[in-house]
Symmetry: C2
Amino acid sequence: MADALDNLVIALQKLPGVGSKSASRMAYHLLQHDQAAAQQLAAALTQATDRMQHCQLCHTFTEQAICATCSDTQRDRSLLCVIESPADQAAMERTGVYRGLYFVLMGKLSPLSGIGPSDIGIERLLQRLDADHAHPVQELVIATSFTAEGEATAHVIGQLLKGRGIRVTRLSRGVPIGSELEYVDLGTIAHAFADRR
Amino acid sequence: MADALDNLVIALQKLPGVGSKSASRMAYHLLQHDQAAAQQLAAALTQATDRMQHCQLCHTFTEQAICATCSDTQRDRSLLCVIESPADQAAMERTGVYRGLYFVLMGKLSPLSGIGPSDIGIERLLQRLDADHAHPVQELVIATSFTAEGEATAHVIGQLLKGRGIRVTRLSRGVPIGSELEYVDLGTIAHAFADRR
């Protein structure tokens, strides 16, 4: 095997979830069947790394200083939803029920991987809360995942915001819509019972 | 979501086995955690599409006109092994028992996908057999996969070479080493019985 192909296989392995076998298969596929896709991907990678930056308010990826969501004057600026990633933001948007703004942490606390509060932008969140005096945030909806790490992140944020006069809420836990109780895990049922209404 | 990010997600979906969710995850990962990897991948893609070509003899990917294996004078030039892909060639090489040359089809017959003999280089294989008069090929080892498509490819090649005075062989089918008979599929056991020695 030649050098340029080896380099491509090594570079493809940097993608999350791609091991050496998948990387080889991708490299052979691109060279043999789809060189146009390879050139398109190279251009898209260069363009994205050159142009994408973090929104100064919500920290998501954007080509502008302030992203389209944060610039939208139709949105309720008193509501701020804290999520872990742009993918989670997209999921919230698809529900169509949320009309406030977002703050994207870009990660969650993970002490085992050495990811502490400063790595996931909790300080930027505090700055964000002070940023817009004309439209102060009145409620912070914490929508981090319901995993140990997501719960820890939610807890830390909740602690930091105590005494600021901001209402801090969390998405409700419970049985997913469409599930039969028999197949739902016991922890979820227990939480759904405790949070019954 | 902004344009450069959308473009990157679309381009990543051209990779085999990558859907829209994986592509988003890859794009966010590269932008957030590993911009160096994104730049490395862009450079590797450009370099590979610019430099890689097909070996004039065996048709594998190489940066030279003739690949390192075909140029190796230590190899037995009377033996030619036909495989489907460079990955299969790498597997054969790892066994360490084969010292002949290769011919890489770059695919297999697949009538349902519209892939016929000319698409997988069977004509190039015939030209290859006539290419080296100083060292004529005496045995052709067909090592295409033991799937319906691989078997059909092997059959077509076998038919085309009839009357050329070249011995045509196929890798033996049978029970894989280390398997318990109980867990081997019945077709394999039946073949292993028919080919017993």
